[in-house]
């Protein structure tokens, strides 16, 4: 059970990052690689502040802030400095590697024997056990406690993002991603909305990094490596499996995508007949299976026979013109 619960907990933490990636990648249509730097930055700063005696919840606020600043820098580079979008992200990410080392002062900072945001819930677990006794109910509540708390937290953040994207500013950001020239013509400053979008996106990534460091009990300079891949995978898996018709649906899909990605990794550990060095291969294969499996369902085949209505109209038109 641990591995299942753990995958949920980690998936939910990563889903915050995935929502951030979704904001940049889908809403702004901006492939933002800052993530590989802002994720460990949130982790580094919150870990450092905790070791300096700051309340772990406040430390998370600073992780959020730090991520936002990272996004701001990428945004400024891209919009005002006219640096290519991909490169702007790469530059910020590269610079952040050294900055994160400076923040931590070392490559690996441990949170051993420090209180984290999870400590109050650990205490709550004890209280639950004392009041309810060692029954099955108290055991299962305790096992799933972090998951429940994280789930509620993630849903609150998701709702906030959904709400934000319906506001005037949010709509401007969405329009910036969809059709920048059109939205510029109605007088919206697209530079401004791009920057806001990137700040928000990386703030979420920084927050996720901060929570992750507290969850795993240490911050490591290498923990950002490949984070953008995890984020993009979560977004794409979620959308492919759960759909993205509305913003609300899309953000929900992204959260599920992140959880599924962690479940896949856990599954990869259990698949028999593979060597440990095949882990990445198995992960990729499992993702391929879950993405392509729906394509082979019977209903889709039927659709293919009927054909695309627009195409058939087009075809009949051609027929008409030829005959005429």
């Amino acid at each position: 059970m641990n591995v299942l619960i753990g995958s949920f907990e980690q998936g939910l933490i990563y889903s915050l990052m995935a929502i951030g990636v979704y904001l940049a990648f889908r809403i702004l249509d901006y492939p933002d690689l800052t993530v590989d730097g802002s994720f460990p930055m949130g982790a580094a700063l919150s870990t450092l502040l905790i070791t300096k005696g700051l309340n772990p919840f406040f430390a998370l606020f600073f992780a959020l802030l730090a991520g936002g600043i990272a996004g701001f820098i990428t945004g400024i580079l891209h919009t005002k400095g006219k640096v290519n979008g991909l490169l702007a992200g790469i530059l910020t990410m590269t610079a952040l590697y050294s900055i994160n080392l400076k923040i931590m002062g070392t490559a690996n900072l441990s949170l051993f024997r420090f209180d984290t945001i999870f400590t109050p819930f650990e205490n709550l677990k004890e209280t639950i056990q004392q009041t309810l006794g060692d029954s099955l109910i108290s055991q299962s509540i305790n096992a799933w406690l972090f998951t429940i708390v994280l789930f509620i937290f993630v849903i609150v953040i998701k709702k906030l993002i959904d709400w934000f994207l319906q506001t005037e500013l949010g709509l401007a950001i969405r329009a910036t991603g969809d059709n920048p020239s059109m939205i510029r013509s109605v007088g919206v400053n697209t530079d401004y909305s791009t920057i806001i979008g990137l700040v928000l996106s990386n703030a979420l990534v920084g927050l996720a990094g901060g929570i992750m460091a507290q969850y795993q009990g240490y911050a490591d300079i290498q923990m950002g490596v490949g984070m953008i891949v995890v984020g993009l995978a979560s977004v794409i898996i979620g959308e492919a499996i759960f759909g993205n018709r509305s913003i609300r649906r899309a953000t929900f899909s992204v959260v599920c995508g992140a959880v599924i990605y962690r479940l896949v990794i856990a599954l990869a550990l259990y698949l028999p007949g593979f060597s440990p060095t095949d882990m990445k291969l198995i992960t990729a294969l499992l993702v391929i299976v879950s993405l392509t499996l729906p394509r082979f369902s019977l209903k889709n085949k039927k659709k293919a026979v009927v054909g695309n209505p627009i195409q058939s109209i087009d075809y009949s038109l051609k027929k008409v013109t030829k005959e005429g």
């Binding site: 299942l4 995958s7 990563y14 490559a107 795993q216 009990g217 923990m223 499996i241 550990l269």
Partner: protein
């Protein structure tokens, strides 16, 4: 709405498969304990990345267990997992071990040790290739861990190794070091090197890199200004050791390395660690725990018992180093 249902189905399928496999492994364990008098113990091995030194220490650990009557598939069952360089997978792997109720965890390198220690306070954890277990937060002190963690440190005798520079090239004044600024173990070694260099009459020229593709360039930059190069036990630089050696042989600069495997690969000389032996030593500690003779809480973190002076004669020739008879006599191993 169809996509929604399909998605939920996929999610449910994954959860059920996972809970099925996760639960079945623990139930077979209990079955075993009922049928045989001595239960087959499982050992989870978690390694951060594929790497010659880390692989060697794992092999040493397994061989030590075997030599003490714990053979894989017979008395014990080994569950080896490799995070393939992704730190974020370590937590999932550790959770799997806790889930499967393994009897012991062998964690190779610092992040693996930390991830495992975070997941369980009960299952004994043996660590190796962790340079500073106290700072890593997995033990309270080197002499008395006070936690479920014990094992070996790969702290190498930086001072003794740097002193070798003078042995192979008495005129040397400036020593160049390439290290990955992102590795905690390298940082500790650099700190020591900085402290001891003046005593040895040496100046240091440090170059920090962030990945193995930068090593060649760093070596080129160093070759122009130093009399010798020292390669600490830095995972990144060691994995790109060939590019350092190539530059050194072209420019006739001796390369002192941090452990035995690097000498075999073409480094000139080392006094120190052998990861296979370090792993073996850790395996012997594991045996004591498996037999119930000791508890990790009370077992001091061990350093390598017998450090070895290893010299590569071929490398000496190509690096233009004249080895004294005296030095060759002292050597525990000479690679021709």
């Amino acid at each position: 709405m169809k996509k929604w249902i399909r998605g939920t189905l996929i999610l449910a399928l994954m959860i059920s498969i996972l809970s099925l496999v996760a639960c079945s492994t623990s139930s077979t364990d209990t079955k075993d304990s009922k049928t045989s008098t001595e239960k087959q113990k499982t050992i989870g091995i978690v390694q951060i990345v594929e790497h010659p030194s880390l692989d060697a220490s794992r092999q040493g650990f397994i061989d030590a267990l075997k030599a003490n009557g714990y053979e894989d598939g017979k008395q014990i069952k080994l569950d080896y997992q490799n995070a393939q360089g992704q730190v974020q997978n370590l937590t999932t792997i550790s959770q799997k071990f806790v889930n499967d109720k393994v009897d012991l965890i062998f964690a190779i390198a610092t992040p693996s040790a930390q991830a495992a220690a975070q997941q369980t306070k009960d299952i004994p954890i043996l660590i190796t290739a962790v340079t500073d277990p106290v700072t890593a937060g997995v033990v309270k002190s080197m002499d008395k861990p006070g936690t479920n963690v014990t094992g070996t440190t790969d702290m190498n005798p930086v001072k003794d190794q740097l002193a070798l520079v003078k042995e192979v090239k008495p005129s040397a004044k400036k020593v160049g070091i390439i290290y990955n600024t992102g590795e905690a173990n390298s940082e500790v070694q650099i700190k020591i090197a900085k402290e001891v260099a003046p005593e040895l009459g040496l100046n240091l020229e440090l170059i920090g890199i962030t990945n193995s593709s930068e090593v060649k360039q760093a070596a080129d930059a160093l070759a122009a200004k130093v009399d010798a190069i020292y390669v600490p036990t830095d995972n990144t630089v060691v994995s790109a050791l060939d590019s350092v050696l190539k530059v050194a042989e072209q420019t006739k600069i001796p390369v002192v390395v941090g452990e035995g495997d690097s000498v075999k690969k073409g480094g000139l000389i080392t006094y120190g660690l052998d990861y296979y032996k370090l792993g073996y030593q850790t395996g012997e500690m594991a045996v004591k725990i498996l037999k119930g003779e000791a508890k990790p809480q009370d077992m001091p973190i061990e350093t390598q018992k017998d450090m070895k002076l290893i010299i590569n004669k071929k490398a000496a020739k190509s690096m233009g180093v004249e080895l004294s008879e005296e030095l060759l006599k002292k050597a525990d191993e000479v690679i021709e």
